[in-house]
């Protein structure tokens, strides 16, 4: 009897995952973890106009576009699941700090939707408090009623799967790098560049122009972190370090760099300027996206950027 009730309880438990911000980084880790534990989950759909509109309504006007979109996804999940996974990260210890948005988003969500009776899943990473990633997952497993050993096993499996996925990506990108076409390195947070609303139109358009987009966020993180020192010594934010470090890794294999940021991104406001001032021998385009940006304006800028690159290449080819 008891068992049945518990089982029934388990089956109805459903986690909601907003398809925004860190989802793009931890997708495999989260999904495989829940799969392993037989926990049902639902991921909000690709960003659409309605999600952007809702997010913009709920967010404080000055927030970055990425976090506005995040709130839109959270809103979509309300009443469709029991708990929403809103990760909170304090920092990555010796790996660096995070944009304060990742320290704050948990409480931003809970305060913004306080009257909607929203429940958030526990997920906090804080190396100073010895809350490392594994501990965070064990606590999450405990909260979901799973034994420690089972949670640990699920975490380790999920971690492996995430690693595999990363290696596969890097491999695929290697192939793209060997294509004999104009290649453009996109330096952008993954949650921006992979978002259907912010980044995807840019990738699609670059492909239509016959170029090959290369993602700075697809790279060996360890190598990128180490390489970032070559460009900037005191850069504090892990995600920006990884992106900046991909420039020395890929620069000689690409023809141009696009720095793409969500308005008015805090870390990028400084980092992009450093990159523009220090990376000299390659064309760089800086794009700032907000919810009012029309695609026409962006397309014109991308077109002329690609023209400039091709002109340069043409000159170069003539000389050799």
């Amino acid at each position: 009897m008891n068992v049945v009730i518990r089982k029934a309880g388990l089956y109805t438990m459903k986690i909601g995952i907003p398809r925004a911000l860190l989802y793009y980084k931890y997708k495999h880790l989260w999904e495989f973890f829940f799969d392993e534990l037989d926990i049902e989950y639902i991921v909000s759909p690709e960003t659409n106009n309605e999600i952007v509109r809702k997010g913009t309504t709920y967010a404080i006007d000055e927030s970055c576009l990425s976090s506005k979109i995040y709130l839109g996804h959270v809103e979509w999940l309300i009443n469709k699941c029991d708990y929403i996974l809103v990760p909170r990260i304090s920092d990555y210890g010796s790996g660096g700090t995070v944009c304060t948005k990742f320290q704050a988003i948990y409480d931003v969500v809970s305060n913004t939707f306080r009257d909607r009776n929203i429940k958030l899943l526990y997920y906090n990473i804080d190396p100073k408090a010895a809350d490392f990633e594994m501990i965070a997952f064990l606590k999450m497993g405990k909260f979901l009623g799973k034994s420690k050993s089972r949670s640990l096993y699920a975490y380790l499996i999920a971690k492996q799967m995430q690693k595999c996925a990363q290696l596969k990506e890097i491999d695929e990108q290697k192939q793209r790098l060997s294509e004999n076409k104009t290649k453009i390195l996109l330096i952008a947070h993954r949650y921006n560049i992979c978002d259907k609303y912010i980044g995807e139109p840019i990738i699609t358009f670059l492909r239509e122009l016959g170029t090959v987009p290369i993602l700075g966020d697809i790279a060996s993180k360890r190598e990128a972190l180490a390489k970032s020192i070559e460009i900037s010594e005191t850069l504090p934010w892990t995600f920006n370090k990884e992106l900046v470090g991909s420039i020395p890794l890929y620069k000689d294999k690409v023809d141009g760099i696009i720095l793409m940021s969500a308005f008015p991104c805090g870390p990028d406001s400084l980092v992009n300027d450093i990159v523009i001032r220090r990376v000299k021998d390659i064309p760089i385009l800086s794009l700032m996206l907000d919810e009012h940006e029309g695609s026409a304006g962006i397309q014109t800028r991308l077109e002329s950027f690609v023209d400039i690159i091709r002109l340069k290449k043409g000159d170069f080819n003539e000389k050799t």
């Binding site: 404080i60 000055e62 927030s63 970055c64 909170r88 304090s90 700090t97 944009c99 304060t100 948005k101 320290q103 704050a104 988003i105 948990y106 409480d107 931003v108 809970s110 305060n111 913004t112 306080r114 906090n124 900037s232 010594e233 005191t234 850069l235 504090p236 934010w237 308005f263 008015p264 805090g266 870390p267 406001s269 400084l270 980092v271 992009n272 300027d273 450093i274 001032r277 220090r278 700032m288």
Partner: protein, 355 residues
């Protein structure tokens, strides 16, 4: 080697202790940055990335103006949030502009603050004396505290002075006398004398004056030019102003644990930079029945933006009005005054209604 003439960006009235620290501690000359003006902000903005938070632009303007005033060694602090990365970009911009100066970027050193100062300066001034620094350091800290105590007192009273300008006059004398002080005893005497003088200034406080608390982002709250001299404006309206955020409270007496506990019904985690005191003070002012709260920050300041949904909840729960100001380099004086006056009218009406 040329004599080192060092400088640090402005922050409120703290140039006196900084000057004492640099001259008596490091044995270098100190150039107080020229007072912040429209020009400071203009040149700072011209060479800064467009949408960086305003303190970055003010600092850059300060740096350029102190170089013009003769400084050859600039110091930038380390810190949380974007401040921790200001220095490297400031140095790069100044270098690209062709300025030949020493730049001491404390973000390069991973030790606690005073030791960082020492490490940073040793590079350019190897003959520094640790003894001198150790001697002056406690005096400097006490000076920060006394400045904060004095200014707390001013905020409580300046709105009611019988002769306009009395407090400002004594305050200016106080700050200028501090610059000469090297010993704790002198400091104690000076502080006591001035407190006496402040207390002697004639004030006419009504029985139940309006009370407003100011909260928000570190720089904007402390640098009067950047917040359109909001505390002065409020004083002229006859309002008592409370503000917890200052250097000694954040550096020396920061009850982080208590504050986190106090606000746990609203937030579970620190949200970065000044978010904890912002929320904690707002809640405290709300509980104490203040007439209103004013939140100030520079445009795009992520941690303070993120406190706003929390402040809105506090405002609803305790029925306390909160006015939000976000200053960017283009904030218009008229827009600012209009909103402040409307807020004033509203809290006056509410107070009347409560009677």
């Amino acid at each position: 080697m040329k004599k080192l003439k060092a400088s640090f960006p402005h922050l409120g009235s703290y140039h006196a202790p900084l000057e004492v620290f640099f001259t008596a501690g490091f044995g270098v000359d100190y150039i107080v940055p020229p007072p912040i003006t429209k020009r400071t902000l203009e040149i700072g903005s011209r060479y800064s990335p467009d949408y960086v938070c305003a303190p970055f632009k003010y600092h850059l303007g300060n740096f350029i103006e102190t170089i013009e005033a003769g400084a050859n060694t600039l110091v930038q602090s380390s810190g949380v949030c974007r401040l921790g990365y200001y220095g490297e970009l400031h140095e790069q911009i100044l270098q690209d502009l062709g300025y030949k100066v020493h730049f001491v970027n404390l973000a390069k050193y991973k030790a606690p603050k005073p030791i960082n100062f020492y490490n940073g300066f040793k590079e350019i001034k190897p003959d520094m004396s640790l003894t001198k620094i150790a001697q002056i350091f406690p005096v400097v800290l006490k000076m920060f505290e006394h400045i904060d105590e004095v200014e707390d007192f001013i905020r409580q009273n300046v709105g009611f002075e019988s002769t306009i300008g009395s407090f400002d006059k004594v305050h200016a004398d106080f700050l200028s006398d501090l610059r000469m002080i090297r010993k704790k005893k002198e400091l104690n005497n000076t502080y006591r004398n001035y407190m006496k003088r402040f207390k002697e200034i004639s004030v006419k406080k009504p029985n139940n004056p309006l009370r407003v608390g100011i909260i928000g982002e570190y720089y904007t709250i402390m640098e009067p030019f950047s917040n359109h001299y909001i505390e002065k404006e409020l004083a002229q309206m006859g309002i008592i102003v409370d503000r917890w955020l200052n250097v000694s409270n954040t550096l020396l007496h920061y009850p982080k644990k208590e504050m986190k506990k106090h606000i746990e019904d609203y937030v579970k985690y620190p949200m970065g930079a000044t978010s904890i005191p912002t929320i904690d003070r707002a809640l405290d002012y709300a509980k104490k029945g203040y007439d209103g709260i004013i939140h100030v920050k520079s445009f795009g300041c992520t941690p303070e933006i993120d406190t706003i949904p929390v402040l809105q909840n506090i405002s609803n729960d305790y029925k306390i009005p909160i006015l939000y100001f976000s200053f960017d380099t283009q904030t218009s004086e008229t827009g600012f005054t209009t909103r402040l006056e409307a807020f004033y009218d509203m809290i006056v009406m509410r107070k009347e209604a409560k009677k």
